[in-house]
Point group: C2
Chain length 321, copies 2
Amino acid sequence: MSDRVDDEETYYHVDGEVVARADATVSVDDRGFRYGDAAFETCRAYGGTVFRWERHRERLRETCETLGMADAVPGDLAARVDETLAANDLADAYVRVSVSRGVQPGKLTPAREVDPTVVVYVSPLPRGGVDGEPVWDDAAVVQSVATRRPPESVLPPGAKTHNYLNGILARLELRDGGASRSAESATEAPDSQADRSPDQPADEALQCDVEGRVAEGATSNLFFVDDGVLKTPAEGSILPGITREVVLELAREEALPVETGGYRLADLRSADEAFLTNTTWEVRPVASIDGVEIGGGEVTAVLRRRYRELVEARCYGEAPG
Amino acid sequence: MSDRVDDEETYYHVDGEVVARADATVSVDDRGFRYGDAAFETCRAYGGTVFRWERHRERLRETCETLGMADAVPGDLAARVDETLAANDLADAYVRVSVSRGVQPGKLTPAREVDPTVVVYVSPLPRGGVDGEPVWDDAAVVQSVATRRPPESVLPPGAKTHNYLNGILARLELRDGGASRSAESATEAPDSQADRSPDQPADEALQCDVEGRVAEGATSNLFFVDDGVLKTPAEGSILPGITREVVLELAREEALPVETGGYRLADLRSADEAFLTNTTWEVRPVASIDGVEIGGGEVTAVLRRRYRELVEARCYGEAPG
């Protein structure tokens, strides 16, 4: 555990205390480790302010409720985040908060009495807002994969939990040359569009639901623009991200026509623009999907700018807007 | 972390060393904690010998291979288990071995270079074999639940991983009064068979696959006997347990008619016998499913006895059989 970089310089918050990263541990009996029995949120701090904190906190509570531990989120979570940022002297940062069910007697069925393990992770990110630089280098290369998103009857899609193997298996298809196993080739006629070099793995794995409808990336939501209409997969098999929510609000403010629905991979081919959203990427244009070039465009640019302006106003502005 | 019982008396094995349970920790950055990105096996030691160790070890390797870390299982794992049993002065024990992908740079896509975190957990269990007592008190009360097993396209069913929330959600339905949401009421006409008292939650949650076929319990496989034929759900949406495998071998040795297939909950109503299998329970008769009394019987008794005899011969016998 001592060979990690920056251990001495990074501090996390574990179970109510700021600790050096090297000392930030959980019991091997913690249900978060044994079963992935934990909720989390990925947030982003801009100038010391966590953007959309109330929404992240509420979704964390909702996930905990889904997991049968509705009261597990501590009341002072915001203060713990602030303390962690301060301990690291960070204002612009990636912030992850995790709430696990903690240690319980050795049974799979959870006990009602919960002593949760609460962890706050931080790491530096560049300044955001109108003067910020994106945290990604280029528009995203997207590849569809065979691994499907779980249906609602298997895992509630809105719950953001430490059970993240489905997304990891999706990403492993990119890493280990899953091109031959793309969602398209699994369901429709195979073609050879996706002949990416193994040296250039895609940036994001696009997953369909078990019905073959486009769902989302392993860590992002997908939007595309078709004939002037902004489209994104409807809720159902997706984790509806908070960035997605903000983008939909901004699109309505801009009076852009918006449609949420069920789409096939083939529907993406004719897209005029496409972009991915998540908390750290914000709005990231899509260069291509399964080898078909798409790129950003006017709608993507407007929404990206509006998102950055919103961050600027809410987090860096003198008066909170 | 200091309020757990028996910390001073229990030793685990973490990353190559025997440590007191209170000191048995993993980094909060361990992917086992962050994502449930880990493989495990539950084994049982009888008289110091782990029953079917080679099969457990092989399945652990297979799970690691599915997770893209084929070489993560250490070559000396059996020695680590032996050391852990010795440190606790245990011969008859529950043994869990976990292999997580360990700490990696902060990306979801796994790095190829893996420094796995290997944990051996033990806790006392009664002697097994022909003189042993079961670790359960009574025949199992089984209740069907709405939470479905993941289809193969979502998570490979044969992989035994730390992503165990699906089973936990199934068990939570029992804990939190999910009777109103049983798999049957979700798919067929509701009836009031399952009016169990909330004080007496069922012992096991029976899950169907997304097609409505009976799959397995949250921690066990199901067998039933109908017209003299031993039946169990076929592989596909189930984790085919090693105890299930042994029971199928014993049934063939006993020349019992065996069928694996796709069954509905309604098919269980007419069962003459039913039992659950897993490593710790071995062969556990089923008292009832959704309020319909079933119970064990002759076939259950024969297989239970044969299993105990096999354990006796392999683990307690003078000469390995």
